[in-house]
């Protein structure tokens, strides 16, 4: 019996010839190869799936879950002993609110991305919220500070998460901490990341899955997505990479807020982000909650040298013009937010201090704060709270109108995604 994959066609005139091509034989060769490719790819995929399963990548203790409006959120009660991480019932990186928490206690909640969360290996008790809570309690003993940081969040997502948790947490002050960079200011999703293609629980698919396809093909495309998502480990990994690396155009990957004309690819995302700030401000105003946007500075901006390097090396990826002053991104963002009636805090001085000795304030990844860095932020927030007399104002306001319950319902469904 002959080998089914053995060559059945060895063209004697391989090379240049005017003899007719044996088309059927050529196509048969391709058919064997395509079959082999399919089997090989599937085998590799299966191997990756088994390895993932062995490493517990798909285990129950996953740190995030997906959501229609926010993309992803921290999973409530997620634990990682390596970093002493223990998220509360709302997915916040701070201690649980006890059932007997005083109804008039002062609550501050900060939202943002990985630095706010305390990424890069920072232990949970090192985080800014623990430090700030200690400082605040020196003035107002019944006080609590929540850490609403989520890895890889944009400002748009942070604002949405903050707005969504207003009723459950009933905070007195909401802080959204952002930097004027592409990751924070340019949310690549078009607000809602999901689109409904069919009725029923499986009818929602991520918007990018069907983007670009004619509407009549949405259902089969969505089914293919679900099939691959269920059976292909490589597909799941690619989707995960997409989530982390997002889909911004290469030319604006390193964009930053500035006075330079905004490229068309930036404008819609930037405006959407500003509108989300306004929406959060309105939600806070309706509930009598104070809002402050803390403008942080990335490591690329924390010293003149780093800033010059960034400008020089990222012109093709959307960095502002070479002569842009280091403070300009912060000033422009501040002006844009204040024009919308949103009060801002500028943490330029704190970042500048950390930039002078990164090793003292940053984790080895050279991007996220270590314990000393978190302390600098906490002191910075406390200084501004004191300067505005906010702690006393908020304490009095809350004392006059205590909460009716210690906490409310978590408005998301971690199991339903």
């Amino acid at each position: 019996m002959s080998d089914p994959g053995a060559s059945t066609y060895d063209d004697p005139a391989d090379g240049l010839s005017t003899a007719p091509v044996q088309r059927a034989a050529a196509l048969r060769l391709f058919a064997w190869v395509f079959l082999g490719v399919a089997v090989g790819f599937a085998a590799f995929d299966r191997g990756v799936g088994l390895a993932d399963a062995k490493q517990g990548a798909d285990g129950g203790n996953r740190s995030i879950f997906t959501d229609e409006r926010l993309g992803w959120l921290n999973r409530p009660h997620f634990e990682n002993p390596d970093y002493q991480t223990r998220l509360d019932r709302f997915g916040l990186r701070s201690p649980e609110i006890p059932d007997d928490a005083p109804l008039d206690e002062l609550r501050l909640a900060g939202f943002g991305a990985s630095n706010v969360y305390g990424a890069g290996g920072a232990l949970q008790p090192w985080c800014w919220n623990y430090k700030l809570e200690t400082l605040v309690r020196s003035r107002v003993p019944a006080a609590r500070v929540h850490n609403g940081g989520v890895m890889a969040y944009s400002a748009l997502q942070s604002c949405r998460l903050a707005a969504s948790l207003l009723d459950a947490l009933e905070p007195d002050l909401v802080m959204v901490l952002v930097s004027p960079s592409a990751q924070l200011m340019l949310d690549p999703s078009s607000a809602a990341r999901f689109v409904r293609v069919a009725e029923g629980p499986g009818g929602l698919v991520p918007k990018d899955v069907v983007a670009g396809w004619p509407e009549f093909l949405h259902l089969p495309v969505a089914r293919t997505h679900r099939f691959l998502n269920e059976w292909s480990a490589l597909y799941r990994r690619q989707r995960a990479k997409f989530q982390v690396n997002d889909r911004r155009d290469e030319s604006i990957q390193r964009w930053m807020v500035s006075r330079a004309p905004r490229p068309a690819a930036v404008e819609a995302m930037y405006q959407r982000t500003l509108e989300e700030f306004s929406a959060l401000a309105e939600a806070c105003r309706q509930r009598g909650v104070e809002l402050r946007v803390g403008i942080l500075v990335d490591v690329i901006q924390d010293s003149e040298k780093a800033w010059a390097n960034y400008l020089r090396n990222n012109q093709l990826e959307g960095a502002p013009p070479l002569e842009t002053p280091r403070r300009e991104p912060i000033e422009v963002l501040r002006e844009a937010l204040e024009a919308r009636g949103i009060a801002c805090w500028d943490f330029f001085e704190e970042a500048d201090k950390m930039g002078q000795d990164r090793r003292a304030y940053l984790m080895p990844d050279d991007a996220h704060w270590n314990e000393a860095g978190h302390l600098v932020l906490a002191r910075g927030i406390f200084k501004r709270l004191e300067a505005e007399g906010l702690l006393e104002t908020l304490r009095q306001r809350r004392a006059a109108k205590p909460r009716l319950r210690p906490y409310g319902e978590f408005p998301f469904d971690p199991e339903g995604s």
């Binding site: 240049l16 091509v21 064997w32 190869v33 082999g36 090989g40 085998a43 590799f44 010059a308």
Partner: protein, 487 residues
């Protein structure tokens, strides 16, 4: 549509069966490749197609006119049309690639005279939006323009020299200009090599199929498993902020980039050559283990061969080549290498890169003459010394390719504190080690794998290709463009 994308896989899966179905009909099969090539190029930016079409029309007309003039014995008319072709092509290339640089240089010159001139504001005011890049910081550079400009120029020059007859039909010529496997980053194909292949029916023996897949597989692995890993985990972070890394890490990043650019570009060439084989075409080789060279002159015979042979045939030889006095030869070498430098990009660093290569080649000539024309590397220790010096010269001259500015270049060669290598991630070590090993191990090892692959039955060849495709899907992070796309 990068070679390592699902879109390209789908594109190939559609093109290949259709092509072989039409294999016995000359016009339809070539037309299919032409339409496919335009679709492929248009997928980067539809607007770019207009430049490709312009270049195609210009050289089609000029080629025919030059040929007719030559046949009529009217050489001055032939020369006129050659000039039109040269100016028409190089003018467009110059506009897109060098205008920004020229304006910046003018601004600097005026600045010394105390006159303020903002080149960016001038560009933004003078040009329509579609000619500017996304960030509006300069003129858009159409992908692959340097490659196809040189390719079409070779066509008119060869006709002018009487080495080539014009293409039989416009569609043949358009396919030569736009042939998708090598359109955006080479190898630069000559009409004299490509057009005759259109005259014959394509063949697909099982050996050709295996050879094509071998080239595609090795090319994909070179790009994804070595070049991209080195870029992401070693070269890019260190070049972005050299002062944050130890001297040893800076040094490893220099080696890392040398291997990154080789594996990236030779990977692209391998995929291009392999893809072309699957539709019955043979493209010229572009690399022959260049880092094994024992002189800079040898390096340029092994690196980007299609470009270096192009400048040799169309610039170095017409200038006089190695004929004439020694000073004339040195001048020719300098001019030729300067053209190679400036072909890559518009900046002082590229000029310096070209001059550095040219100067070193001249130095090698002088050294050889001092030895009475005798070769230096005649035994193992001398061969090793020659290789060591050449390799390190190439590695350090790569600084001029990767650095985006003079400051960055200086920062990369300014020693930092310490010699720690903790900042290098394990993936980068693997990629660096594998890249170096696979380049320097005896070619017989690669050949052994190659021969085994060629002996496999089709099903197994497909299976191995599927495993490689799986590995690529596992490793790839987004659309990482090939380095040479920017040239």
């Amino acid at each position: 549509m990068n070679f390592h994308s699902v879109q390209f896989l789908a594109f190939l899966a559609a093109i290949l069966p259709l092509f072989w179905l039409l294999a016995n009909q000359r016009q339809p099969r070539n037309l299919l490749l032409l339409v496919g090539s335009y679709y492929f190029y248009g997928s980067y930016n539809v607007w770019f197609l207009s430049l490709l079409v312009y270049s195609t029309f210009l050289d089609w007309i000029c080629g025919n006119r030059i040929h007719a003039a030559r046949q009529a014995g009217d050489l001055s008319r032939a020369r006129r049309f050659l000039w039109i072709s040269l100016l028409g092509n190089l003018g467009v290339l110059g506009f897109f690639k060098y205008t920004d640089w020229a304006l910046r240089s003018v601004a600097e010159g005026l600045g010394w005279l105390g006159v303020q001139f903002d080149p960016l504001a001038f560009t933004q005011a003078a040009l329509p939006r579609f000619l500017l890049n996304e960030q509006m910081t300069g003129i858009l550079i159409p992908i692959g323009i340097s490659f196809y400009t040189f390719q079409t120029l070779s066509y008119t020059i060869d006709i002018y020299r009487g080495n080539l007859a014009p293409a039989k039909s416009f569609s043949d010529f358009a396919l030569f200009v736009s042939f998708f496997p090598q359109l955006v980053a080479g190898p630069i194909v000559r009409a004299i090599d490509f057009l005759p292949q259109l005259e014959y029916r394509p063949r697909l023996g099982s050996e050709r199929l295996r050879e094509g897949l071998w080239r595609m597989n090795t090319g994909l692995l070179k790009k994804i498993a070595v070049a991209d890993v080195l870029g992401q985990h070693l070269v890019d972070p260190v070049y972005a902020d050299p002062g944050q890394y130890s001297t040893l890490v800076q040094l490893l990043a220099l080696y890392g980039f040398a291997f990154q650019i080789y594996f990236d570009f030779s990977g692209y060439s391998d995929i291009a050559i392999g893809t072309a084989k699957l539709v019955g075409f043979d493209l010229t080789e572009n690399f022959v283990t260049p880092y094994r060279s024992r002189s800079v002159r040898e390096f340029w015979r092994r690196w980007h061969i299609s470009l270096s042979s192009w400048v040799r045939d169309y610039i170095y030889f017409p200038l006089g080549g190695s004929r004439g006095g020694e000073n004339r030869v040195r001048r020719n070498l300098l001019i030729t290498m300067l053209v190679i430098g400036v072909w890559h990009g518009a900046s002082l660093l590229w000029v310096l890169y070209g001059l550095l290569q040219g100067t070193t080649m001249i130095f090698e000539r002088v050294f050889e003459r001092l030895r009475g024309g005798k070769e230096f590397a005649t035994n193992l220790p001398r061969s090793l010394l020659s290789w060591f010096l050449t390799f390190h010269f190439i590695v350090f001259s790569c600084l001029f390719i990767r650095a985006r500015s003079w400051d960055q270049l200086v920062a990369m060669v300014t020693p930092s504190a310490g010699f720690g290598v903790e900042a290098i991630k394990v993936w980068a070590w693997w990629a660096l080690a594998f890249g170096a090993l696979s380049h320097f191990w005896p070619p017989a090892i690669t050949e052994w794998f190659h021969r085994r692959f060629l002996r496999c039955p089709e099903l197994l060849v497909g299976l191995l290709t599927g495993l490689v495709a799986g590995a690529v899907a596992w490793l790839v992070v987004g659309q990482t463009p090939y380095i040479y796309f920017q040239f």
